[in-house]
């Protein structure tokens, strides 16, 4: 079974970009089935013992293992703000990377225009990065 993308590779008369959404999604069907089967396999693997092995509960066994000490308090406590800051910076930079992927693929066609556009975008972002570094947003102590 050839998907629409492979048909297009062999037959340039087909217009890939004007094809309906369902045809263009054909190439992803296999990947979606892979996700579904991966979920199923992991479900079977990680629940194998729940079926095979009889459970014996003891009070000590269901206690969280913290180096053999009795756990003090709960683990769901407040956490350092640094982690949230890192996560926010990650989102900023990751969105920037996602913006750059279509540009990178089309770069040869865009040429010098694409270069100047993206260079100014990266420059503005880099100024922001230097600001974060100078403010000590990435320091851990």
């Amino acid at each position: 079974m050839k998907n629409y993308f492979e048909q297009y590779l062999q037959n340039p008369c087909l217009n890939y970009n004007l094809a309906p959404f369902s045809k263009r999604m054909q190439e992803y069907y296999g990947a979606f089935i892979m996700i579904a089967i991966g979920l199923g396999l992991a479900l079977i693997l990680s629940n194998l013992q729940n079926i095979l092995i009889r459970k014996r509960f003891t009070e000590r066994k269901v206690m969280p293992y913290e180096s053999g000490m009795d756990p003090v308090g709960t683990a769901r406590d407040r956490f350092s703000i640094k982690f949230y800051l890192i996560a926010m910076l990650f989102i900023l930079f990751d969105i920037e990377i996602i913006f750059m992927y279509p540009w990178a693929v089309q770069y040869k066609q865009l040429g010098i225009f694409g270069f100047i556009e993206m260079f100014s975008f990266v420059l503005i972002l880099f100024v922001g990065y230097i600001y974060v570094v100078k403010k000590g947003g990435l320091d851990w102590n």
């Binding site: 079974m1 998907n3 993308f5 999604m25 190439e27 992803y28 069907y29 296999g30 990947a31 089935i33 892979m34 996700i35 089967i37 991966g38 979920l39 396999l41 992991a42 693997l45 990680s46 629940n47 194998l48 013992q49 092995i53 009889r54 459970k55 014996r56 269901v62 206690m63 969280p64 293992y65 913290e66 756990p71 709960t74 683990a75 769901r76 406590d77 956490f79 982690f83 890192i86 996560a87 990650f90 930079f93 990751d94 990377i97 750059m100 992927y101 990178a104 693929v105 770069y107 040869k108 040429g111 993206m118 260079f119 990266v122 880099f126 990065y129 570094v133 990435l138 851990w140 102590n141």
Partner: protein, 360 residues
């Protein structure tokens, strides 16, 4: 109708998935054994030696032992998230294999956005890790998962920039096209015409010199993504016992370990695909010995070279693990944000300049 099920659920689609899973499972079993033997060799020990010839059946014995264990769910744990986390971790890494080729033109899924697919789908396992850590209601696993997530998201940015540098050079994210380009282009470092020699001269790191630096960044960030030493602060055995998967036992634990070894394989396969010529032979033509043409193409040679190269990279990962001490958490994050990020951004800009003006 979006899905035509009759056409889809065929042997053609199910067989590659089954083969991929069997391959990953066998690779993980042998990988654990290899890792223990390499560790033993580096530390001047014998390593596993009891079960089977020179301990070759040790991991099978370990799997049998894991199969006998019961899955203990802590009393105070969040039951649903605790149950869901290993499934999510494994499925996200397994889905990454959908677009990775094991042999020439024999694809399971051939999509244009293959590299982006791998990057996005594999990074979903960050969510699984934080679910595992939080649901366990164990201080060690919470610290482990917080460290793991902050590390993995920090190193994902250099990883993304490294892929971007390759995408700029080849103008595509399709793995098939990237590897084919590495058998067509023939100007080593833009200076010498080496098309007739073939072999390793055609690898992208020899075609474009800055890609060697991009590879180093990619590989470093990749090791950090796999949570392996020297970036194994999330799993630091001596401090956090095992980090986020401390409360997991039996096959739930085995699922997480399988996902980790599969993640290593994904990173090394991606390195081979983007930087080391994929399934193309590394042997150059020498005079009348057309080694490149003799050992290239065909199902056997393609998969042989692809897997040999990626197993060599996995060996280097294991070598690194047993040679360097682990970073401190603050050093680790600062290395990513203050060294790798500006370096990879600069290399992407250099890649752009190289593509536009410097390379013929």
């Amino acid at each position: 109708m979006l899905f035509n099920l009759n056409a889809l659920i065929t042997l053609e689609l199910l067989l590659p998935i089954t083969l991929t899973f069997v391959f990953i499972a066998i690779y993980a079993l042998l990988g654990v054994y290899a890792e223990r033997k390499i560790a033993a060799f580096i530390q001047d020990r014998v390593g596993p030696d009891e079960v089977g010839y020179k301990g070759t059946l040790q991991t099978f014995a370990d799997i049998l032992k894991l199969l006998q264990k019961e899955i203990i769910v802590p009393d105070s744990a969040d039951k649903i998230l605790f149950w869901l986390a290993p499934i999510l971790i494994f499925a996200s890494v397994f889905a990454g294999f959908a677009v990775l080729p094991f042999m020439h033109s024999e694809y399971y899924v051939n999509i244009n956005l293959a590299l982006l697919w791998v990057m996005t789908i594999v990074s979903i396992d960050v969510i699984g890790i934080i679910m595992a850590g939080w649901a366990s209601n164990n201080k060690y696993s919470l610290y482990g998962s917080m460290r793991a997530v902050s590390q993995m998201i920090a190193y994902e940015i250099p990883l993304g920039f490294a892929i971007l540098g390759v995408a700029v050079i080849y103008g595509t994210l399709n793995i098939n096209q990237i590897i084919t380009m590495q058998s067509i282009e023939g100007y080593t470092w833009g200076l010498w015409n080496t098309k007739n020699y073939g072999g390793f001269f055609l690898w992208s790191i020899f075609q474009h010199p800055h890609l060697l630096l991009i590879f180093l960044i990619f590989f470093t960030a990749g090791i950090a993504e796999c949570n392996r030493a020297p970036f194994d602060i999330p799993e630091a055995e001596s401090e956090l016992i095992a980090g986020f998967h401390i409360e997991y036992s039996g096959f739930a634990f085995a699922t997480i370990m399988l996902a980790e070894y599969a993640n290593m394989l994904i990173i090394s396969l991606l390195s081979v695909i983007m930087f080391f010529g994929g399934w193309n032979s590394p042997l150059p033509n020498l005079g009348n010995f057309f080694l490149y043409h003799w050992t290239n193409g065909g199902l056997f040679w393609s998969s042989f070279w692809l897997l040999t190269k990626s197993f060599l990279l996995i060996f280097i990962m294991m070598w690194i693990r047993w040679s360097w001490p682990r970073f401190r958490a603050d050093q680790l994050l600062q290395f990513s944000w203050k060294v790798l990020l500006p370096a990879s951004l600069t290399l992407v800009i250099f890649s752009v300049l190289w593509k536009l003006w410097l390379h013929p």
